[in-house]
């Protein structure tokens, strides 16, 4: 025991002193920051990064500092001594924060010309969109015979304690839904939430636990993406979960990537941004990231369950960035009453 502890301390100190040294030079590789689910075993990462290396001969180093909020936090922390060359996963809600923090560089890829102008959410030219989706209420068609077709429909009394939502303070979809109601009702959005309250079963902290409750039958409706039914069709051959497309449109969510300010590998970084707009990259997104690719390419068969609403809603990203804090506070007062 005694020798064991001493040996352990020595080993630890050695390991530490060996591994702890002044960084000699900047990494040889193209350093890419991405959110965790992107690099996960079931995400696009394991397919697209090797593909990029193979095509360009540029070695990549993938780092995931957590979810997309944590990725941005880390970039802001490192603003003065940036480690990353590329960041993947800055969405339309966070774009303004990232741009004002001055951590991104402008780059306009030629490939952007292939893309619907409405999807290029960052007009300042920093962030290149690669995929998008629509928030939607997913419902269990065995329990809900008449699906809601507008936000107002969700207030129907028969839906008492039937909806699972997410908290905008801790979850991306949660924030998306809050902005959706803001876009739809303007200043009156708190009134809407007050009326919605009796129909909410719970507001979970993250999409994962909320959706978990839903598939376990806790409630017939949950906040998710219109692409969610495609998963159940693809892997479970089931079409009972359906997305409710709203007449006034669903709120859109666009994700983009950008070059990090201070990157010493401008040329390689540009190649990577071009790559994410290439068909090779884009075709992997539907079944791994469960989002629509920004390029107009054929979708997998299961995507027939993933509806694209004809109309969509989106707040200007600058307005959103400026007001999110105060909207969250108003929202809190509304739902806590």
């Amino acid at each position: 025991m005694k020798n064991f502890i001493i040996a352990f301390l020595i080993v630890f100190l050695l390991m530490f002193s060996v591994s702890c040294s002044k960084k000699s030079s900047v990494s040889e590789n193209l350093v890419i920051y991405a959110y965790d689910s992107f690099i996960s075993e079931w995400g696009p990462g394991p397919i697209v990064f090797p593909l990029f290396e193979e095509k360009t001969g540029i070695k990549t180093e993938i780092v995931s500092p957590g979810d997309s909020g944590q990725v941005l936090s880390r970039l802001i922390l490192e603003a003065e001594k940036p480690e990353a060359d590329i960041v993947i996963g800055i969405d339309n809600n966070m774009a303004q924060k990232a741009i004002s923090a001055g951590i991104l560089e402008k780059y306009t890829s030629d490939a952007l010309s292939n893309i619907d102008d409405n999807l290029i959410f960052d007009k300042s030219g920093h962030i290149t969109p690669y995929d998008y989706g629509f928030f939607a209420i997913i419902y269990d068609s065995e329990k809900i015979s008449v699906p809601p077709s507008s936000l107002d429909d969700l207030l129907d009394r028969s839906y008492s304690k039937s909806i699972i939502l997410m908290d905008p303070r801790t979850s991306g979809p949660g924030l998306g839904f809050l902005l959706w109601t803001v876009k739809a009702y303007g200043d009156d959005f708190t009134e809407y939430w007050k009326k919605l309250s009796p129909n909410i079963l719970t507001i979970s902290e993250g999409w994962d636990s909320g959706y978990g409750l839903f598939v376990n039958g806790e409630a017939p409706m949950v906040l998710s993406y219109t692409t969610s039914p495609a998963y159940h069709l693809e892997y479970e051959n089931s079409e009972i979960y359906k997305a409710a497309v709203f007449e006034n449109g669903n709120y859109m969510h666009i994700e983009g990537a950008a070059i990090v300010k201070g990157s010493k590998k401008r040329e390689e970084a540009e190649k990577f941004i071009d790559f994410i707009l290439s068909e090779d990259f884009q075709k992997e997104l539907p079944l791994t990231n469960w989002m629509f690719p920004v390029r107009d390419i054929p979708l997998p068969d299961s995507y027939r369950a993933a509806l694209k609403p004809e109309k969509y809603l989106l707040l200007d990203s600058r307005t959103a960035a400026e007001n999110i804090d105060s909207w969250i506070k108003e929202w809190l007062t509304a739902v806590r009453d």
Binding site: E61, E205, V335
Partner: protein
Amino acid sequence: MTVKKSAAVFYSLPFLFILFAFYFPLANLLISGVSPSSLINIFSESYFKSVFIFTLKQAFFSAFFSMIPGLTGAYILVNFNFPFKNIIKSITLVPFVLPSIIVVLGFVLLFGNNGLINSAAMKLFDLEKPPFLILYSFKAIILAHVFYNSPLFIRIVSSAWERISGDIIEAAESLGATKLRVFITAVLPQILPPVIAAFSLIFILCFMSFSIILVLGGGPKFTTLEVEIYRLVRISMDIRAACSLSVLQSFVTLSFLFIYSFYQKKTSMIYSDNFRIPEKKSSSSLLQIILIVLFFLFLFIIIIMPLAMIIFESFRFKSSHAGNAVFSLRWYIKSFSELGFRPVKNSLILASVNTLLTCAVSVAALSFLQRKKTVMKVLIETFFAMSLGVSSIILSLSYMKAVSDFQIEIQPLVLLSMLHSVIFLPLVFKSISVFYDKIDRSIIESAESIGADRRRILFTIELPLVRGGIITGGVLAFALSMGEINSTLMIAPDRFTTIPVAIYRLIGSYNFSQACAMGSILIVTCVISFFLIDKSGRIEL
């Protein structure tokens, strides 16, 4: 002189460690700009007060309700022998390692509107609506916290209770005291310090809980301070304010810990020289039998069943949604073919390093502290416990910033073990300190006076006497590290997948059943590990 020097090096190690691994990065994060303005904003919120009061309230009730089965469980474990005792002991700690998402799933599968209890009742009585609305209320929060924490209570209290001298109890009994009187006069004063220690730990853990509270409580009506920290990091991107709030939260939790510690120091002065293991009872009164039955019922419903539901779910496979579920190893086969043994291996490595490091640092610090006066002791203990209240997202960010600011190249795995150790050190520290406080000073002084140096005293006297605390603390550190997810996600090196990370990623990509399979693997790995740690810890040093 060399002995003296090596002792100085040895005793300075824990201080260097905590300074380097906690205070230095945190200070670096704070120094670059505390933002009081955003903090003032938070405080001026009308709802902040209610959040704060609610945080305290739920923490208190959670700790209180964990104490009831906790004390009963400790009593039964200490006083009665029954088969599979050690296995049961190991199983009760499993909730502690589970990521909250798995706990939520387990609870939903059992207590949910569509869960086992409700659907059975609906079938049995032919009901339209679920009869038991258990979840999404304050009581669900308490239920889940009891599930999480009462095993911790049992652990800490029973390991100290086992050491109460049989002489004292028998002396009290021989003086004609009733069982209750024996308990109040002879047992209670001695187990009070560990009871207080366990209570305060659970209080602090629940104080920082947030996902369980949001999901099972039913939404933002029930919000803790920790949620605000997340909002500041994720939405407002105001890391300084988040950090300030986190440090503030730490001060709040620690002032509670401080009061408890001080009180505990006072009560632990009770000296018990005649240590003898009391006889285990084989025959028992009716009341005791009822107590045991009730406890096992509790154990079964609150702790075993949610776990069993997860394991059950992991073996179910439906080929189509409408079809009947069949028993299948599909999810396990899929997990192993996709991930191999990597997550299990990574989790075990991380947890073992964390266990050894936290135990070594705690023992070195406590051995040093033992020679200090009470006030000094409590202050230094607080110094070591400070990380308990700081949210793990803040700690992870502070690590990232320090690495970036100073351009230090540290292997991510080493960095991650350091971070885990800092996060869990206070718990290990506390469970070992309960034992250190019981060592009579004159025992150490006797050894010193007959020529033993500090190292010899440490290894031949102190370590054997605090072994129970090391086992408890070691198991806790192991369990917590096995289940940790936040900082692992943020700091872990590329493709370093632990079991909880795999669970998180699986659920993030809709694979709930496979996540249950990973969860079951986590449960089994932990039960085996706890059992082994317990066993190896009991080997004579």
